[in-house]
């Protein structure tokens, strides 16, 4: 926090008649998924740099969005067929973020109008998921709701309204929880400064989430050298069975 305050002061001192800017830093620019990975807590913080160092009246709003790489997803709906629940209808979505978490100073509906939040994709209901199949509008909407609900349950979609703290209208900070089941890839923290319902400044900071060490080694082996990996798995199983046999015989 001190670092952010220092940064802010330096900027305030140096700034001339520039547009309002956002200065952002993240507690971790890289998240390593290792053997003991249980999820992570990201601290996104920074300062608002006003032109000529003058802090205008009125409290601005901040929205902090952390999102992961988009991926295509097929969502299937279960229905009862002959007494058994099986997958029936499906809708394909082309661009579903693997992770999406938003934190704001106030409820999203109060920060800006629907059009603005839709343009900047603020809020899980405003994500552009690009449904690809020729399903009807109503059906697509129902599947979209199902998709969002499923992602929320997995902790991969989250909305935390009113959790961004703003200090003296200059310093802001937010905590974003990254669950253990998070997909790997290039992430971005997007910060939006909103005043009177309009986005007046934004910043983007990259975050890398990747498997590291042993986890990465196993994952790469399974995907790039799958034959050897399979042989290793069989060998490990045979060895364990042999050990068990030796132990049992001695007992």
């Amino acid at each position: 926090m001190n670092r952010a305050a220092g940064l802010a002061l330096a900027w305030l001192a140096l700034s001339g008649a520039a547009p309002t800017m956002l200065i952002t830093d993240i507690s971790q620019g890289r998240i390593d998924i290792n053997t003991t990975f249980k999820g992570a807590d990201l601290l996104v913080y920074g300062a608002i740099q006003y032109p000529a160092g003058s802090i205008p009246d009125g409290v601005p709003d901040i929205a902090v969005v952390v999102r992961g790489p988009a991926e295509p997803i097929t969502i299937r709906k279960k229905a009862r067929v002959a007494g058994v629940w099986i997958n029936t209808d499906s809708v394909h979505f082309e661009t579903v973020p693997g992770f999406y978490s938003v934190a704001t100073t106030r409820p999203i509906a109060q920060i800006a109008d629907d059009r603005t939040t839709a343009i900047y994709e603020i809020g899980v209901g405003n994500l552009q998921l690009s449904p690809a199949s020729g399903a009807s509008g109503a059906q697509t909407a129902a599947f979209e709701q199902g998709l969002i609900a499923a992602k929320r349950r997995q902790g991969l979609f989250a909305e935390a309204e009113g959790t961004v703290t703003l200090t003296r209208n200059v310093l802001y900070s937010a905590r974003i929880t990254i669950p253990a089941a998070v997909p790997v890839g290039e992430y971005a923290a997007e910060i939006y400064l909103i005043r009177k319902g309009r986005v007046i400044a934004s910043s983007t900071t990259p975050i890398t989430i990747d498997k590291s060490g042993f986890e990465r080694w196993i994952y790469v082996a399974a995907h790039e050298h799958s034959l050897l990996y399979g042989l290793a798995a069989v060998a490990a199983a045979l060895f364990a069975g042999w050990v068990a046999s030796v132990v049992t015989r001695r007992a």
Binding site: T36, K77, L227, A240, W242, T248
Partner: protein, 317 residues
């Protein structure tokens, strides 16, 4: 990096699985392996029919659960098969025929597995196959063990249980050959077909032992002493093949998960073998029948009750 303090056993030992891509409590998984190992040591079955549904219940993705339990069954079958080999209770010729059928079956099963995965029905298919098989075998076993127990309870001489020695259509198959240790003179086509069917089931995470053993006894009419050992022998090769197929095509074998299950299984099987010696075999079969039926009923409930989440997500992979 923080210095690593001494391990605190009160805390759950979380371990991130690289292929399943989630964090599990390693202790629970080892315990699960030990429990299944205990039962497989006790009843002489591979335990795949328990591992797969239990892993899915824990939250492991079904494809990873199926592929990894195949690896685990390989391990648990090796220790059993070695014990039978030392006692000369494996018919290697019969085993070779079963393996040939089984490997072909595993290949066919893998194609079906991929197709079902593509149309998004693999989870349902796994559950339906399990309910039908476990339910069917469970009822047959229950009937058989109850009859045996009743007969044993009745005073007077006990007539031996008659096995059906000749199934007409199997006896009619061409190219009969002798399987000495099995005490059979039949066409190799019959065990080849049996191996094929069991191999297909193996790709769905069922080791096949509990289908194979009754089929060998009642359909092929093999002598009882060679049945379990030969079944285990076949299981090693077919599950190893299945592991290879899953590893190369669906890439869903989680070696860390497999090792956790195996380390528990190694210990559990030992206790299981000891426990089995204290219980009468008829009672043992009754317990196994009830266990198999319980799993079938649990899975059936899951299939027929309205699921909490109607929508399921499927990634591209």
């Amino acid at each position: 990096m923080r210095p690593t303090p001494g391990y605190d056993w009160r805390k759950p030992m979380n371990l991130y699985l690289p292929i399943a891509e989630l964090s599990v409590n390693a202790f629970v998984i080892v315990l699960l392996g030990a429990g299944v190992g205990f039962l497989s040591g006790m009843f002489g079955v591979g335990g795949g029919f328990l591992t797969t549904p239990l892993l899915i219940l824990y939250g492991i993705p079904p494809t990873v659960a199926v592929a990894t339990s195949a690896t685990q069954i390989t391990g648990s079958s090796v220790s059993g098969a070695l014990a039978y080999l030392r006692r000369g209770q494996i018919d290697l010729k019969m085993g070779a025929v079963l393996v040939a059928g089984g490997i072909a079956g595993a290949g066919i099963g893998q194609v079906i597995f991929r197709q079902l995965q593509k149309i998004g029905q693999i989870d349902v298919a796994i559950n339906v196959v399990y309910v039908l098989l476990l339910g069917g075998v469970g009822i047959l076993m229950l009937r058989e063990s109850v009859t045996t127990l009743r007969r044993a309870a009745r005073p007077g001489p006990h007539p031996p249980v008659r096995l059906r020695r000749h199934v007409p259509w199997i006896a009619g198959l061409p190219g009969r050959t002798r399987f000495y240790r099995s005490g059979l003179f039949i066409s190799p086509l019959a065990p080849l077909l049996l191996g094929l069917v069991v191999g297909m089931l193996t790709t769905l995470g069922i080791g096949g032992g509990f289908i194979m053993v009754p089929a060998m006894l009642y359909l092929l009419g093999m002598s009882a002493s060679a049945v379990v050992g030969t079944s285990l022998f076949q299981t090693i090769f077919v599950t190893a093949m299945t592991t290879m197929l899953h590893a190369t095509s669906s890439k869903s074998v989680d070696i860390v998960l497999a090792l956790l299950l195996l380390s528990g299984g190694v210990a559990g099987a030992q206790f299981g073998v000891r426990a089995a010696q204290k219980v009468r075999p008829e009672k043992l079969r009754l317990f196994l029948a009830l266990l198999v039926l319980a799993v079938a009923i649990a899975l059936m409930t899951g299939l027929t009750l309205q699921p909490r989440d109607l929508f399921t997500l499927y990634g591209q992979s």
